[in-house]
Symmetry: C2
Subunit: 381 residues, 2 copies
């Protein structure tokens, strides 16, 4: 029977499927599943600090017929209200998403016209590029430095600008206060909306917290997630935007997955309103700071002396820039047999390039293994 | 500040957003949230029979650092293996989705070229139309009768055919065995893939079970869900297809929501392999049969004598055809003040029309309230 139809699926794919590629991160994560592997490749929180007990108790308390039934596409109303209150907005400005990744997909679905240009930081979050490429986006990247996105060098046209202003993925850089104001000015001057992705903002180890872009300008579309402050597997994210944008995103979400698990939303709501998450995040900051310190120290100890890095004040990633003739892809191939991995920097660029950089995740490896992993990489440089 | 930017979002939407509309169902569900409303409008399971206690205990047992971490995009491997074994396939042929709605979205993303024609039953599942319209699908509908889709009247060209062969939504019709064979023959002859959506197949009240299309032909893409047999809020669905199709769908899913909650997948897996779901479904069949019987009896008692219906042998819906001059949309407007609702049949047609039909859900209303609701509707006819 199979032979008669002989479905050749590859000839049946829509042209947008050409833009779907298995990412380097993905293949690396497969390797890193091996037990004795030291992986700096993923973007995983520290699993040994997941509040499994609190989540378990909350799940058990909330598992009832209301939380198991189909729910509204917009999200669990008290959770929406919580975020509206937190940011001084209205409940109509909040959409709950199935993780922040879904927010990126929905924004692409609703805003990206094939061939239109999306402005991004260069390097930027890989899966944002993936999400929007499918809808036909072209990308124009602007570099970052110690103070974040180089606002002076931004283009003056584009569908929207996507930025991770705080502890950026992958660079670790944070946009300075001055540049935050400048960026908002640029947005108004050129009538280009800002999309602020803020998954790591709560994970600040040191330095003064800076206002979120959405706090400086209510026009900013703001994304947040419980993946880093509670647990990724709940798949609960928050999107803040103008009511007419939310309204269209809700219609898109309805056709995409109907709604986000109410049970999981209620767990996030309970642990957020009870103050538990705030307390938990204080612990995470200590844990991740220690890991960042271990990684920075190990890089200084083992890596070539002219290795450049932005020491991030928070978040989960360290970005390294090596000599111009260094090839981080080739080096990774040498590292893998020694059971250590990172992500070569070229993956985070919309048009590739920048082969002498690498992203290292420090949140998912215990400090004692961080030094060992960095030592192994340094041997293969 | 808001005035300066004055973002007019509606002028920034991509053209595909024109296809996103708030559905009639959606607006009705809002009404039906009122406490003393009798709603036959939704497609909700009976919440009083959710196995809240079993889900709660299973969640509590499985809530650990593995199930809270990011997981593979393909899904929890034992759950994929379970379905591979169940259907005599390989694990590479199984993708776990965030509810079955996500399967529809991903299939649209990967298979629907703008302007291409998707073949559907007429009437069909509203949210499948919504999911694919966004990707530029045109629809060609073929009517159903007592024996399901009229296979003899199918077109000979199309990107794929979408069918709900068992206890179809909205018609309640089931495709006969003869037509199942005929449909597969048609698919081979015209080289048009079949997508079989099977959310209700397990909810058979009477009559002999028929083989699923995927059991008759492994080329069929098959969708299933735990929403009707366990609980919708887990958001766990299953897609079965050829490995090269799954591979592309995985790439699409990665950019869409990264992965489906591992914790929720593990709950589905545990309650499925333990045999609990099978036992639970036997109870649901009794409960829903009683509700179907109550609804059929009430329609016969209160509705005009020439009202036609297909008495479904399972599932959740009753489809009524009234006199040709009957307007189910106008009648609904008269019903709502009397706190009773259904979905007018025109909503399930890709091109509208058919105003003298209505879909009634019987699974979500207790038998004694079903008679009262039908009586109220009949008064407004």
């Amino acid at each position: 029977m199979k032979d008669t139809l002989g479905l050749n699926w590859e000839h049946r794919f829509a042209s947008r499927a050409d833009h779907m590629k298995s990412s380097a991160i993905r293949e690396l994560l497969k390797l890193a599943e091996q037990p004795d592997f030291i992986s700096f490749a993923g973007g995983f929180p520290a699993p040994e600090f997941f509040p499994a007990r609190e989540i378990e108790e909350t799940l058990a308390r909330l598992c009832d017929s209301d939380s198991l039934q189909y729910g509204p596409t917009e999200g669990y109303r008290p959770l929406r209200q919580l975020w509206a209150d937190r940011l001084g907005g209205k409940v109509e400005e909040i959409l709950i998403t199935t993780g922040s990744q879904q927010a990126l997909d929905l924004l692409g679905k609703v805003l990206v016209e094939p061939g239109s240009t999306v402005l991004v930081e260069n390097p930027t979050y890989l899966a944002a590029l993936q999400a929007w490429r499918v809808y036909g986006a072209k990308f124009a990247g602007t570099p970052l430095d110690q103070d974040g996105l180089q606002v002076d060098n931004l283009p003056t046209q584009g569908q929207f600008l996507y930025t991770i202003p705080t502890f950026q993925n992958p660079s670790g850089a944070t946009l300075s206060l001055q540049r935050r104001h400048q960026l908002i000015e640029w947005s108004h001057k050129h009538q280009i909306p800002l999309i602020e992705d803020d998954p790591y903002g709560a994970l600040r180890f040191e330095g003064e917290p800076l206002p979120k872009l959405v706090e400086l300008d209510p026009n900013v579309v703001h994304l947040c997630t419980y993946s880093k402050t509670l647990a990724p597997s709940l798949r609960v994210g928050v999107l803040v935007g103008a009511p007419e944008l939310i309204c269209k995103l809700v219609q898109a979400k309805q056709a995409t997955d109907l709604h986000t698990s109410t049970l999981n939303q209620r767990v996030a709501y309970e642990l957020d309103t009870s103050g538990y998450i705030e307390k938990h995040v204080m612990e995470l900051r200590q844990v991740y700071k220690q890991r960042r310190d271990a990684m920075v120290a190990a890089v200084r100890k083992y890596f070539p002396p002219h290795t450049r890095m932005i020491v991030p004040q928070g978040g989960m990633f360290l970005w390294l820039t090596l000599d111009h003739d260094f090839d981080s892809v080739a080096a990774l191939e040498r590292c893998v047999p020694h059971k250590v991995a990172y992500v070569p920097g070229n993956n985070f660029h919309p048009h590739g390039g920048d082969p002498h950089t690498m992203r290292l995740n420090f949140s998912n490896t215990r400090p004692e293994m961080i030094e060992e992993g960095i030592r192994r990489i340094a041997e293969e440089l």
